[in-house]
Subunit: 262 residues, 2 copies
DNA sequence: TTAAAGCGTATTATTATATGATACTTTGTA
DNA sequence: TACAAAGTATCATATAATAATACGCTTTAA
């Protein structure tokens, strides 16, 4: 049913090129858990028939966006995917402004430092400066994390107006990631309130055990949180008091020094 | 003329979806120097007429791949571009294997450490661990650099067989980037020979003044250079003797410890 | 060793879908 | 204020994408 009306809308709109959308769907079929896909898998994931998968897959291969293993005939993303990332990074003033300050901070603090952007009910990391060994995913640029389980997401929501905040707290997904991930929405509301009061977000053991995340907000001219600068430290090395006393103020200072255009 | 035969080939091949290719062309219109584009600019860059640019642009916008400034009506890459990068990074075993070792190395040496992959006559950076402030472009993942002007490219070419090496040295582009960029192909051949003899690549002042790049090769099962691990240091801080004595051996050790599949 | 199933590849007729010309609207500038 | 340039909307047409079908190869089970 949804599919029918969707098709109808597309059909009526001659400014929407369905083939492009399908090709993009093939590209985004690849992810952390789908690093290498065969034709039939792609067909299944994208909801296309074999022929369609064949065509788009072939086109992406010929244009250099997909690698094809000659033996297994399976596809993988190519370096072109990374080049697109470079184009994004050049276009984002937040990244350009934050980068030098975060490098400096990372040098002085010796801990992992990141920057993120809100993306719906998630955040996406746009800068990652690894200094300590952790899980691979904690070093990945472009990684998507559910907002409510991250320090960044919490300070973002904390600056929403009443209505949006209520909506986010009621409806945004909160899947359990670690045994300590807070999934109780009332508790989460408390966390967000505290973040609002403090001015920065905190997340303890939410995505990785023994990890504390601290996030300070960067505002755009409209006064919304357009991004966050973040630091991740080990609980064992950094008791909460020291986090509040030594890390948070410096992150806030960095965040405040970043003035975004428009 | 080339265009005609190209068109013909595409026309005959029903497995090639031209609309997708055009959409991709729009996406890749964005780059370091084209961070924000209007409709007409996109039309010009991609060689499309206004209508085509309108359709693809609109489709990319509606699917969330392009941001559109409501006031200026200009387009910019969206975070989706970064998500694709994450998919690539997950899929590349070299990145996964190299990452922890390079973080460790970066911590101990305190200098910028990178990894790159060959891409035609260029290399593309797949890992960047910034520790010292430099130009923004030197911190960018996905950044493309002409191979012959980089330490990584030189050690890659050094491991080519006779014929490919000759071809690369004769035909690959060598645009001047800094006043000291080596553009003399005979000199470049010397550099590559020396790299072959040493086992690692060196590039002094080639992309950034006062910068020394050092690259060690990582081989795949077929014995080709599939990637490089690299370190960038300041000439002022690191005289060449120390680079050879202290950095190169450690990079070689790291490179040798990375065993790529297939 | 053979049969069967599953996957990737190739070819085709059909028409849905992308196309590009044109006209309209808005924006910015002389 | 008027003109030019950029963005937006509409539409008839045929190109170019489609999905069905058939083929060949590899893997697994009988």
């Amino acid at each position: 049913m949804g599919k029918v009306s969707e098709k109808k809308r597309e059909k009526q709109d001659t400014l929407f090129v369905g083939s492009l959308e399908k090709g993009l769907r093939v590209m985004s079929a690849f992810s952390a858990h789908r690093t290498e896909l065969g034709l039939m898998e792609i067909a299944e994931i994208t909801g296309m028939d074999k022929s369609a998968a064949q065509r788009f897959t072939n086109t992406l291969h010929r244009t250099g966006y997909l690698e094809k293993d000659a033996e297994t005939r399976r596809f993988r993303p190519s370096l072109r995917f990374l080049e697109l990332a470079a184009a994004y990074l050049w276009s984002d003033p937040f990244v350009q402004l934050a980068m030098p300050k975060l490098i400096e901070f990372s040098r002085s603090i010796g801990e992992r430092v990141n920057a993120a952007r809100p993306a719906g009910s998630d955040i996406i990391y746009v800068i990652r400066i690894p200094t300590q060994l952790t899980s691979f995913s904690a070093m990945l640029i472009g990684k998507r994390v559910q907002a409510l389980s991250s320090s960044s997401g919490r300070i973002i929501v904390a600056h929403f107006d009443e209505e949006r905040r209520r909506d986010a707290l009621a409806n945004w997904p909160i899947d359990r990631v670690t045994p300590k991930t807070v999934t109780d929405r009332a508790l989460l509301a408390k966390e967000v309130e505290e973040a609002a009061a403090r001015g920065y977000g905190i997340a303890v053991d939410q995505n990785i055990i023994n990890e504390i995340g601290i996030s300070a907000p960067v505002f755009n001219q409209a006064g919304e949180v357009a991004g966050t600068v973040q630091c991740s430290v080990s609980h064992l090395k950094w008791p909460l008091e020291r986090v509040h006393a030594e890390i948070a103020p410096r992150l806030m200072e960095i965040a405040n020094s970043i003035i975004l255009p428009r």
